[in-house]
């Protein structure tokens, strides 16, 4: 395992060299790695042991008692040797007390009953206890639809309450930090959030106060839970106690359309699920990938999607004429761009490209430059974005696909920005094509842009010097496109389109494909994104022998190939 995040616990992943032991699971003898958590043992064989406080990546608390199971161990003879049955397997001696599966590990000859009368009685008991003080506010609770309490009540509960006493009332709308609100009355005190804060986020500021049924979750006095990973506690909260201020009351989860994708906020490329409805993205949640982000993602990445619904977003192609912006038909816009690009000698054209583009888009940019250049190399550069790595999931490289851009051969890792600036000033470059980058952000201000004879801007939200652009091409956000990117560790991963582009905006690969056709690419017509990937795999040896389908939902490790090419 080479996960970018190092989980302190991996209860679901025993070391590869762990020997196998015989375990009797609901009467069936199976072989499992020694020491594997009993919840995971059951899971591997299609059984389910319900649990609240257990999380495979957190320490064991053992307090919810939902995973109680009946356990047996081999019956021993006078010499303390297991007594064997006719089939050569140990005779089982069942323990009178139920055990918790989360804190029990598989050993030789262990027997597990996941659905015996005793187990069902335990499960019913715990469900009844959990529900007595829980507010039955599912109609307004954000967690409804993905609430473990709701689900288990159906699967393991009694179906009725015998509690006629007054409920314990706990605080509502407790401010936990800049992004989190606690509805304490829903808390089932599983302590997952506390353990997450201590063990993963390393910000030990939440804990329980008071005793018994009056126990409440709280932030330590004078503290706030403002870790950049705080929203993971909302994901792992099995009920609707911890809620995201951003998502709270915005959408019922069962209305959300889910698309598997990756976060594009930095080079880590955390695997995510984009939850959207009617072309609006409502939330990003982490998707488990042990090779990248495990179960987690940072708050910055999680909340960094709102720009895609910005009112300032360009949603149709347009051109500037006499200082005014005029919408264009796509055919007209693309024809204009293609014609003007072909008017300049290749040495006078520059591409300022974003490393937030997908490999396919970057490949098409490269193809466009080659077609226009006709053997002469066209100036290209990517815009570098540097942050600070936090040792968890934030990378210092804030571009999600720098490795892809370098692999495909676009730009020199941002080192030629000054050169570009000087060349524009010197009128050596007269045509600039900025793709998903605002030149102003790297110091190519309005006065410099004034030197250009032709400036095409393609993207989402234009910068202040947008009026200098002769043509604006409305592109797509990460949620509106499919494609691949290579993360900082050299893993090729896929984005999947979650929503449609707003207005008349278009997926960037289609814009680039159309321009390519207009500037004279004849040999190939790309109809879908996988066609671009196939072409890329034929032409770029890094992608050799890969296909769109082989990349899969969890991506493919290209680190060795990248190391061989000195890109990693």
């Amino acid at each position: 395992m080479s996960a970018l995040i190092k989980n302190p616990f991996n209860h679901d992943l025993p070391p590869l060299e762990t020997p196998l032991v015989n375990v009797q699971l609901d009467g069936q003898w199976v072989k499992v790695p020694k020491g594997l958590n009993v919840i995971e043992v059951a899971k591997r064989f299609g059984k389910f042991i319900p649990h609240y406080c257990y999380h495979p990546k957190l320490s064991i608390a053992g307090n919810c008692r939902m995973c109680l199971f009946e356990m047996g161990m081999p019956k021993l003879d006078a010499n303390r040797k297991p007594i064997m049955d006719a089939e050569g397997m140990p005779v089982i001696n069942w323990l009178p007390r139920p055990q918790i599966a989360c804190a029990t590990q598989a050993t030789e000859g262990m027997a597990i009953r996941t659905s015996s009368k005793l187990v069902k009685d335990c499960q019913e008991g715990v469900m009844e206890f959990l529900l007595i003080n829980h507010p039955l506010d599912c109609p307004i609770c954000d967690q409804a639809g993905e609430c473990r309490l709701q689900e288990y009540a159906y699967d393991f509960g009694k179906g009725r309450s015998r509690f006629v006493e007054e409920k314990v009332k706990k605080p509502k709308r407790v401010d936990f930090g800049p992004r989190i609100i606690l509805d304490d009355e829903r808390c089932i005190l599983c302590s997952r959030c506390i353990r997450f804060a201590r063990e993963i986020a390393k910000q030990d500021v939440i804990g329980f106060v008071n005793r018994g049924s009056y126990s409440t979750l709280t932030v330590y006095p004078g503290k706030v839970f403002d870790s950049n990973y705080s929203l993971n506690t909302v994901d792992i909260c099995p009920v609707g106690a911890l809620t995201s201020k951003d998502f709270r009351f915005k959408m019922r989860v069962w209305f959300l359309r889910e698309a598997k994708s990756i976060c594009t906020d930095c080079a880590t490329g955390c695997n995510i699920i984009i939850g959207s409805r009617e072309n609006v993205v409502y939330r990003l949640t982490p998707r488990v990938n042990e090779e990248v982000n495990s179960h987690w993602m940072c708050d910055q990445g999680r909340l960094g999607f709102h720009y895609i619904h910005s009112k300032r977003r360009v949603t149709e192609p347009a051109s500037h004429l006499n200082g005014s912006l005029f919408p264009l038909e796509w055919s007209e816009a693309l024809r204009t761009v293609a014609q003007r690009l072909m008017e300049f000698p290749p040495s006078e054209i520059a591409f300022l490209v974003s490393a937030r583009l997908t490999c396919e888009e970057l490949y098409l940019v490269k193809k466009l430059m080659e077609t226009l250049g006709k053997g002469t190399e066209i100036f290209s550069e990517i815009v570098p974005r540097k942050g600070v790595a936090d040792g968890l999931l934030r990378s210092a490289d804030l571009n999600p696909n720098t490795k892809g851009a370098i692999s495909i051969g676009i730009g020199k890792e941002g080192t030629r920005i000054e050169e570009l600036k000087n060349k524009i000033r010197a009128k050596e470059i007269n045509c600039l094509f900025a793709i998903h980058e605002n030149p102003e952000e790297v110091g190519i201000q309005e006065d410099i842009l004034s030197y250009l004879s032709f400036y095409v801007w393609q993207g989402l939200i234009p910068g202040p010097a947008v009026h200098k652009a002769n043509v604006l091409l409305a592109g797509a956000s990460f949620a509106e496109k499919s494609g691949t990117m290579i993360n900082i560790a050299g893993r090729l991963q896929k984005l999947h389109k979650a929503i449609l582009c707003p207005g008349r905006a278009r997926e960037d690969w289609r814009i680039l494909r159309d321009l390519l056709l207009l500037v004279g690419l004849k040999e190939r017509v790309f109809e879908k994104i996988s066609d671009v990937f196939d072409a890329m795999s034929k032409e770029i040896d890094l992608f050799d022998s890969l296909s769109w389908n082989t990349v899969g939902d969890l991506g493919i490790d290209l680190s060795q190939k990248l190391k061989n090419r000195s890109i990693l």
């Binding site: 307090n63 008692r65 715990v126 206890f129 959990l130 005793r211």
Partner: protein, 456 residues
């Protein structure tokens, strides 16, 4: 005449002129046993404790020598800690504080010997936060012992170093549970640890091997070393050796603490002869034999007790409550336990539903809140009993109370689950008619006739 007490631990405790000063202790032969112990090999002391058959006096009655034997000193490379559990939070139990208030040096001597036997160089006395006076006495006694080199570096020139500190607890019942105590001592919330893997002898304080013993237990160690394990084992009965301090509270004329050899006295003798009989000439109704968490025993019930015959076989004999000898095994055979030795007596004027409500209120208040069944169930039971007592009982409440208790016992991390469920189970099972009467809004006291008429 009541049977004479056999005071081993409390020998000097109430003697006129006996003080907590070290000089007084030394005048009475104090720290002489320590000298003897330091001349012995640690394993030899452990062996003597094993031979003595000493069982823990904190509640569980686990053999002390066996507990000490869990540490593998040959392989262990970590420091070993000795913790004295002076939390004494079980209602009805007030024996440890007598030792601390009246003879603290006996505890310190017992601790130094025990720490030496277990190769511990650091020990703590975890005393309940509310026992401010006790902590003060202990601090002073420790300072005195340190001054005379019974503590500290190179104790009495033996080359053995030990430091003992007093740690004032957080004041919760669960702080007396040995793993909760360890968590509290580490500065955390006193949540019990999951066993396995956190058996204190393996993973205790700071994840190091740790021995947790009760105050009374540690005092016994001194006497075991003094008289030898075999001699000590002659006190009491087989498997129930040594003396025990019984704390009697409730409806007796002379409540207090009394020390007898295990099994040397019956409930009847203790209550009627030693404690002067039931208060106001009333009649005995029930007894809780080992602190409030132990199952209540009904006075008019016959209990089947196993007894070994001469040929070695076991026969079951029926016994009334008053004839039951006070030892670990016989009391356990009644279905209850001698636990912490806190005997709570209830006479015929007691409303058992009210009594249970009182106990349930305590446990609902003291549940640490870690495990779902105990956290939610203890308060639910308390609320139900409140309702029953205030006239809102329903016919189904007894059954529901039992079911809730059954859903707690045996399903939690620590024994607090049993502690809060057992009283409910036993009170409802033993005095079901009183609960039913209450649920019918009748006076439960009219239902039961007094069961015993014996007088002192």
């Amino acid at each position: 005449m009541p049977k004479a007490e056999y005071r081993l631990i409390l020998k000097h405790a109430d003697e006129p002129g006996y003080t907590v000063d070290i000089d007084c202790y030394l005048r009475h032969g104090g720290y002489q046993v320590l000298k003897k112990a330091l001349a012995m090999a640690p394993d030899q002391i452990i062996q003597e404790v094993k031979i003595s058959g000493l069982r823990g006096r904190g509640g569980a009655g686990f053999p002390t020598g066996v507990k000490w034997g869990f540490i593998n000193h040959e392989k262990n490379t970590k420091p070993v800690y000795l913790l004295c559990n002076a939390d004494e939070s079980e209602p009805g139990t007030f024996k440890d504080r007598q030792i601390i208030y009246k003879d603290p040096h006996q505890l310190i001597e017992g601790m130094v010997i025990s720490a030496y036997a277990n190769r511990a160089h650091l020990a703590y006395i975890y005393i309940r936060g509310e026992f401010a006076k006790g902590a003060e006495i202990l601090e002073k006694a420790l300072a005195e012992a340190r001054e005379r080199n019974f503590l500290g570096k190179n104790i009495l020139g033996s080359g053995y170093d030990l430091e003992i500190y007093v740690f004032r607890g957080a004041g919760a019942y669960i702080c007396g549970e040995e793993t909760g105590l360890i968590e509290s001592l580490e500065g955390k919330r006193a949540y019990p640890r999951i066993k396995p893997p956190y058996f204190p002898a393996v993973l205790g304080l700071y994840m190091c091997p740790t021995i947790v013993n009760n105050v009374e237990t540690l005092c016994h160690v001194k006497h075991i070393v003094e008289m030898g394990g075999a001699e000590y084992a002659r006190i009491g009965t087989p498997n129930n050796t040594g003396t025990r301090i019984w704390c009697v509270s409730g409806d007796v004329n002379k409540p207090g603490y009394y020390e007898y050899p295990c099994g040397a006295i019956t409930f009847g003798e203790l209550l009627y002869e030693v404690c002067g009989g039931i208060r106001n000439g009333n009649k005995l109704k029930a007894v809780i034999p080992g602190g409030s968490s132990a199952k209540v025993l009904r006075a008019d019930k016959k209990y089947k007790i196993p007894r070994k015959k001469e040929d070695g076989s076991t026969e079951m004999i029926e016994m009334g409550l008053e004839d039951i000898p006070l030892d670990f095994d016989t009391v356990a055979a009644t279905g209850s336990m001698s636990g912490s030795g806190g005997i709570i007596v209830m006479d015929h004027t007691r409303d058992m539903v009210e009594c249970l409500r009182n106990i349930a209120e305590f446990y609902a208040h003291e549940s640490c809140g870690q495990c779902t069944p105990c956290r939610e169930g203890s308060l639910w039971m308390k609320k139900m009993l409140d309702r029953i007592c205030s006239g809102g009982g329903r016919p189904e409440d007894s059954k529901l109370l039992l079911e809730v208790a059954n859903h707690i016992a045996g399903r939690t991390i620590c024994a607090f689950g049993e502690a809060c469920a057992w009283p409910v189970q036993s009170f409802v099972e033993m005095f079901g008619e009183e609960f039913e009467a209450k649920q019918r809004r009748e006076s439960s006291l009219e239902i039961l006739e007094p069961v015993t008429t014996r007088t002192a």
